[in-house]
């Protein structure tokens, strides 16, 4: 898949039941714009989340992924290249081409 101009490929996985919100597919490679169009800042995880909601979230129950304030629903872990996003600045964490981001829900049954 040839990348669109001014975008970068990001690998995004949805696990722990979240895949049901994204076309029942746990593994995605998306083309993320290099810059957040709203303020031209470099793409970070916060921008990735809003991009996913706008373009990839194919489920009416969006609150399983984000709350109305746009923040991720508590109970979802984010791993950036395997590291807990709390170690990487959470939404502020800048993304680079080829980064691997995993969203995993802890809420689903045990």
């Amino acid at each position: 898949m040839a990348p669109e101009p001014d975008t970068m490929p990001i690998s995004v996985d949805f696990l722990g039941g979240l895949e049901t919100l994204f076309s029942n597919n746990p593994h995605h490679t998306i083309s993320l714009p290099l810059l957040n169009p709203s303020d031209s800042s470099p793409a970070n995880v916060g921008f990735l989340i809003s991009h996913l909601v706008k373009n990839h979230l194919k489920h009416p129950r969006t609150e399983f992924f984000v709350h109305s304030d746009g923040h991720l629903t508590p109970g979802i872990l984010v791993l950036i290249n395997d590291a807990d996003w709390e170690l990487e600045g959470e939404e502020e964490c800048k993304l680079q081409a080829g980064d691997k981001v995993v969203f995993v829900s802890t809420m689903h049954g045990g």
Partner: protein, 401 residues
């Protein structure tokens, strides 16, 4: 951000931030410390004895998968001498268990453990699909939970096993503590916070070795160890009240990660104030590890959760039980407890008077007997499962296609 180094080995790159103490750890040290803490819980609570046969309540979900993996590891590393068996329940929900039972079967091969699957149909002559056809989706989690509760014990009995371990984690316990508080049902606190339920008089003892393990760490353990587990919401969706308690816990965790273990500890401390109950705790805090609570009352939640959420949705249950005249006596008890004069409450300093809230549980210790119908251990004449079955069987003809 520059990557931090592991707080334990000081060499590896930190990948995990522990919710309980914010420690930043590398993958290897995290896995080791996660296992070591469960080992500590097991030894300090004296959960097992050498040579004991133990059934792991296995749903194919993350908690029981991690429990099986950790117990296998610890059993080998520390020479517990346990004979471990996987025990799965098939509720009879079309499509729902197919994948999760497949996962359990794979686990059985991977962990080299025998697997026993017990069906609701075989135990109760009702599948959950049939239950839902009869009563609708509302309240069906109560049925599922009550049936599951006995199913694990009966499955264990069939295998000649007297100890069932389940994957209940700290978040589950915290959630149940919150629910009991919100329902003003302190008498349930002991059961929901004990690491062991059932005692010498019970045929089957239950315990939760992951009681102090954060759900977040269970998920991370499974992720970093690349354990295969199955996750789906039960298609008969969980009750709203439990869902609210769950999101509340998760929101608290976001602001203050230690809140989860703090709620568990608070639940233990409050349970100690309830007359006639002796909650268990980590034995290094000096508490006795016993609980006289009959196992049957520790109702599990929705089918997706391996019965991991004791407490149950009692509203639907109440309604059902009220219709049953066998519970007339209990109704009187509840009324009496509620109309207790205010003054008595003021006079009591150490022992809190316990109101029964809206649940059918009575304050304090319950008398253990046997169900007159099925012989299963119960604090009532007719156990919860038989009570529910009676209602179901009455309604069966209407719905048969």
């Amino acid at each position: 951000m520059a990557p931090s180094l592991c707080a334990i080995c000081k060499i590896g790159r930190a990948y995990i931030k522990r919710p309980k103490n914010h420690a930043k750890l590398c993958k290897e040290c995290f896995i080791r410390v996660f296992e070591d803490e469960i080992h500590h819980t097991i030894t300090s609570s004296k959960l097992f004895y050498p040579g004991e046969k133990v059934a792991i309540g296995a749903s194919g979900g993350k908690d029981s998968t991690v429990l099986a993996s950790v117990l296998k590891t610890l059993n080998e590393r520390h020479g517990y001498g346990l004979d471990l068996v996987l025990l799965s329940i098939d509720e009879g929900i079309t499509g729902y268990r197919d994948d999760s039972l497949k996962t359990v079967m794979n686990n059985a091969v991977q962990y080299d453990m025998p697997l026993k699957i017990v069906g609701y149909k075989e135990l109760y002559d009702w599948t959950m699909d049939e239950v839902v056809q009869t009563i609708g989706k509302k309240g069906n989690c109560t049925y599922c939970g009550v049936f599951r509760r006995q199913a694990l014990d009966r499955g264990a009995k069939m295998l000649g096993i007297k100890h069932v371990v389940t994957g209940h984690n700290a978040d589950d316990v915290a959630e149940t503590v919150m629910m009991n508080l919100l329902r003003a049902d302190l008498s349930r606190l002991s059961r929901s916070t004990s690491i062991v339920t059932g005692d010498d008089r019970s045929e089957v003892k239950r315990s939760k070795p992951l009681k102090y393990s954060y759900e977040k760490e269970i998920v991370l353990y499974a992720f970093h160890k690349k354990l295969e587990y199955f996750s789906t919401e039960c298609i008969y969706s969980p009750e709203a009240f439990r869902g609210s308690a769950r999101s509340l816990i998760k929101q608290l965790e976001k602001v203050r990660p230690s809140a989860i273990l703090d709620i568990v500890r608070s639940g233990e401390d409050m349970a100690r104030l309830v007359p006639g109950e002796s909650p268990s705790s980590c034995a290094c805090k000096g508490q006795k590890v016993t609980s006289a609570a009959p196992a049957e009352d520790d109702i599990g939640g929705c089918g997706s959760t391996n019965g991991r959420t004791p407490g149950g949705e009692m509203a639907a249950m109440d309604k059902q039980l009220r219709e049953n005249e066998e519970y007339a006596e209990l109704e009187v008890d509840v009324a009496k407890a509620i109309s207790k004069p205010k003054q008595a409450e003021k006079d009591t300093e150490k022992v809190l008077p316990i109101r029964s809230g809206t649940g059918p549980s009575k304050g304090g210790r319950q008398v253990l007997g046997q169900c007159k119908r099925c012989g299963y251990m119960s604090s009532q004449e007719i156990c919860q499962a038989c009570t529910l079955l009676e209602g179901l069987n009455k309604n069966r003809p209407q719905i048969q296609i």
